[in-house]
């Protein structure tokens, strides 16, 4: 603590300005959205909002959130517990394979599952052959284009958020409490529900909130399944009523509700104190699952990976091969691949640097209040992507106009668009959206490692740069690489902001897929879609080989 205080005393004005800048920059989308919403009250008479379907949409949104939240909690926590506490066939492979569905965007998983399960798909075609019927009216089959279908598809690709946070928690946790419970005579079930579940609540909440925010801002998958969500109401208000301000108002209300829920959870958790002894002397010893139970665990978890990753990838692979055989490969796909990797790489690097800076700044005494504003930024995650993108386009356009006015006054000539419609706009949007992921991961990594080594280095006379390059970074690198991998995957998948903010003439894999899919040329979208998954799965695979995500 004394070392911390000593460091705080050295804080000069420059870092403080940097703090304010970071907070402003990350809060800009929310500020822009609020400005849009307010313009609806001050501007010309409003076209109103669509009120009748909204209550229904709110209801359906919350049902979807409840189902996906619960099922990802069960899948994520359950699988994390199994791979860390039990030994069964394939547990080593599963421990990283369970992360793979993260590489599949919900819109692709939705498309693949509909292709598989709808009337003309292989499953129903086979079924009709077996039953000897022709029309959909002659037999019953689960309708994949339904709220239930949407919940299923989202659950099997989003659970890895919960899996990752819970597994990291289990891997760290001492087995002492659990061992004590067992020694006192509690059975495995009672131990799980009275010890493991309550203790893992913080990790569970972090993972599930990420899942819920993803569900809220999703439009692609949800509209495909014919679910009436608030997002659909927001779009109709904007596009059909021409009332962008009204759309922003609904979005703000949505954000407010999300904020309340998150706040309520944090407040409720404050009543408890979580002691997490990093006591490696009592590691939890995984026990082997015997015979049939080992088989059940193994089959169940492989089934989950198959549903979230294997089947969608197989479906896309099949379409891609068939399409390429007939139509060849569009050279634009390769360009899009290069640009995707480049932009996602730059954005990941930026997220890493900023995430580290923020995590470090927040650890100093005296800064938390300022940075608690940053937590507001995470809510931006829940805004429907295109509305957020329009908000950003408007604010960046305004700043560009100021720059040009200034440049004209100084030099007599404008400088054109610098921030909007450039790579900057795109990287900026990614950083704002995904900074919380890198920051969260790095913060957790710093907590886990502790500052003992740094303090030792200081005592031994190491300077600031020597401490950074010889102690801090080498000991933190698995965390940094893991965070970079997660952000990179998110950037590669991101669609709505990319679509609207990208520079003229630039395509990423995601926009390429979207362009083909909206021309209803799904098979042309398959190859770039497969590349999205491959580019996203690569870091997962690499990280697993390096035992990074396994920590």
């Amino acid at each position: 603590m004394t070392a911390h205080s000593a460091r705080a005393a050295h804080t000069g004005p420059l870092p403080r300005i940097l703090d304010v800048l970071i907070v402003l920059v990350t809060a800009l989308p929310i500020i822009a959205l609020a400005a849009l919403a307010i313009s609806g009250f001050t501007g010309p008479a409003s076209a109103g909002i669509l009120g009748r379907l909204l209550p229904l949409a709110v209801g359906e949104t919350f049902v979807l959130l409840a189902i996906v939240g619960t099922s990802t909690a069960v899948l994520g926590l359950g699988s994390a517990w199994l791979v860390t506490h039990r030994r069964f066939p394939g547990h080593r492979l599963l421990s990283w394979a369970l992360v793979l569905p993260l590489a599949v965007p919900t819109y692709l998983s939705a498309y693949a599952w509909v292709e598989l399960l709808e009337f003309t798909g292989p499953v129903q075609t086979l079924l009709r052959g077996l039953l000897g019927v022709e029309s959909a009216r002659e037999y019953w089959f689960f309708t994949i284009r339904s709220p239930g279908g949407a919940a299923f598809v989202m659950s099997v690709v989003l659970y890895p958020y919960v899996y990752l946070t819970c597994r990291a928690f289990f891997a760290l946790r001492s087995g002492a409490v659990e061992a004590a419970a067992r020694a006192l005579g509690a059975g495995p079930v009672r131990t799980f529900f009275t010890i493991v579940l309550p203790l893992s609540r913080p990790a569970l909440v972090v993972g599930v909130s990420l899942v819920l925010l993803e569900v809220l801002n999703d439009f692609g998958a949800v509209s495909f399944f014919g679910v009436n969500t608030m997002t659909a109401a927001i779009y109709a208000t904007w596009i059909n009523l021409g009332n962008l301000a009204g759309a922003a108002q609904i979005a703000i209300v949505l954000l407010f509700v999300v904020g309340l829920v998150i706040y309520a959870e944090v407040a409720a958790r404050k009543k408890h104190t979580y002691l997490m002894p990093r006591d490696s002397r009592t590691p939890h010893a995984p026990t082997a699952l015997s015979g049939i139970w080992g088989g059940v665990a193994s089959a169940g978890l492989f089934g989950v990976v198959l549903a979230g990753f294997g089947l969608p990838v197989a479906q896309l692979g099949f379409s891609a091969i068939r399409h390429s055989a007939v139509a060849g490969i569009d050279p634009g796909v390769w360009r899009a691949l290069g640009q995707t990797v480049l932009i996602a790489g730059i954005a990941s690097a930026a997220c890493l640097v900023l995430g580290y800076v923020i995590a470090r700044r927040m650890r100093r005494p005296g800064t938390p209040t300022r940075f608690s504003l940053l937590r507001l930024g995470v809510l931006g995650y829940a805004i429907p992507g295109t509305v957020l993108a329009v908000g950003l386009a408007v604010s960046l356009g305004t700043i560009d106009a100021w720059i040009n006015t200034g440049a004209r006054a100084l030099t007599g000539a404008g400088v054109g668009l610098i921030l909007s419609g450039s790579m900057f706009a795109l990287v900026y949007a990614y950083v704002v959206r995904f900074l919380m992921i890198s920051h969260g991961a790095i913060d957790a990594g710093l907590t886990q490692r502790g500052d003992g080594l740094l303090d030792a280095a200081r005592v031994l006379g190491a300077g600031r740069w020597e401490r950074l390059f010889r102690v801090e970074l080498p000991t933190l690198w698995p965390t940094l690489a893991g965070a970079a991998a997660l952000v990179f995957i998110e950037c590669v998948k991101e669609l709505p902001a990319t679509l609207l903010l990208r520079p003229l003439g630039l395509d990423t894999l995601a926009t390429f897929v979207y362009a083909s899919a909206s021309a209803e040329l799904f098979s042309a979208a398959a190859l770039p879609a497969l590349m999205i998954v491959a580019v996203g799965a690569l870091p997962v695979f690499a990280a697993s080989r390096l035992k990074i995500l396994a920590r």
Partner: protein
């Protein structure tokens, strides 16, 4: 411990990168497009071949008009290519366009262009009925017919809030009045097989699968499905359905919507943009639209494709599109008030 120089350098190099991309030797024209690049490719390839002007496209489904407005006088947008009369009306009300030279617009009939020359339509698509070849006998129908009890549990369409249906329902309001359109829409809602989902192609698939007997959709999707070599099974789905051009009971013809073009208010390459628009309303470009995308040419005298012609003749509704565009917000509210997207209520 923290070096503030690094993020600053990163930002600087990024903006330099984007600025460098703006320089170019050849003549170019910048297109903000709501139309999918795949549909534009044959047209733009021919334009480049003829003019030597390189088209640069930015495609998005929503928000391009808003982006151009936000970029203001610095926008790179020379032309905005849109689908749906709603986008053309929005472009005009957000003042992102400028008048197109009258002589360029001359080939286009007056009802398909803006009186202030702020936009012109390039192609037409008709909102028609796809009906099952097996289960429907009728060969002529009116839009009013599908509100009748004999269609209960037999009708499909995509979301009522989709712009394709909003334009269509706005035209119903234009012909039936607010109350008449509401009653019609409620009856159609109750005749649906379930909740509206999917796109226009999915409706054809639903007819093929036997889920519904009649669907509301645009003509050109049938053409695209019937000629789909990459996914040949779509030919089979489409073969299960045929097209009826519905009329209005008041004698007006089939509802048509448009794709169109706007000349950017601050077009940095105005001469090139005008050359592109001149090309797009030429007989050659109109024929490419007709042959590759199965839309109806907006310029009289250019024939539709043979496939489209084989579906028979029809009379388009001649109500000016700006009158229909003005009713879009009301249509959207109507769809909301009758809970159309919630499916049948009885």
């Amino acid at each position: 411990m923290i070096n503030p120089v690094l993020p600053a350098l990163l930002g600087l190099s990024l903006s330099l990168f984007s600025a460098a991309a703006a320089f170019s030797q050849t003549r170019t024209v910048n297109i903000y497009s709501y139309r999918e690049p795949a549909l534009l490719a044959p047209l733009l390839a021919r334009f480049e071949e003829l003019s030597g002007i390189r088209p640069v496209v930015l495609f998005a489904k929503n928000g391009l008009v808003e982006r151009a407005a936000a970029e203001g006088e610095n926008t790179p947008a020379d032309v905005i290519l849109t689908v749906d009369i709603g986008n053309l009306a929005a472009a005009k009300s957000l003042k992102i366009g400028q008048p197109i030279d009258a002589d360029i617009l001359a080939p286009v009939p007056a009802i398909y262009r803006d009186p202030d020359r702020m936009w012109t339509a390039l192609t037409l698509r008709a909102r028609v009925f796809y009906v099952s070849r097996k289960r429907v006998d009728a060969t002529t129908m009116s839009y009013e017919d599908i509100a009748g009890p004999e269609w209960a549990g037999r009708v499909c369409t995509r979301s009522g809030q989709h712009p394709y249906n909003i334009g269509f329902i706005a035209s119903r309001i234009a012909h039936l009045g607010s109350e008449g359109a509401r009653e019609w829409l409620e009856n159609v809602r109750d005749n649906l097989t379930g909740r509206p989902t999917g796109n226009d192609r999915a409706q054809v698939q639903a007819i093929f699968s036997g889920v519904c007997d009649l669907a509301i959709g645009y003509t050109y999707y049938m053409g695209l499905m019937l000629t789909n070599t990459a996914e040949p099974e779509q030919k089979q789905w489409a073969a299960a359905a045929r097209i009826i051009y519905p009329t209005n009971a008041n004698g007006k013809g089939t509802h048509v919507n448009v794709s169109g073009v706007v000349l950017g208010a601050y077009a940095p390459n105005r001469p090139e943009a005008l050359e592109l628009i001149r090309f797009l309303v030429s007989d050659e470009a109109q024929a490419i639209y007709a042959q590759t995308n199965f839309e109806f040419p907006v310029v009289p005298g250019v024939p539709p494709s043979d496939l489209v012609a084989s579906w028979g003749e029809f009379t388009p509704d001649d109500t000016p599109l700006i009158e229909i565009a003005a009713l879009r917000a009301e249509a959207s509210r109507l769809v909301d008030e009758v809970l159309f997207d919630d499916g049948p209520q009885r």
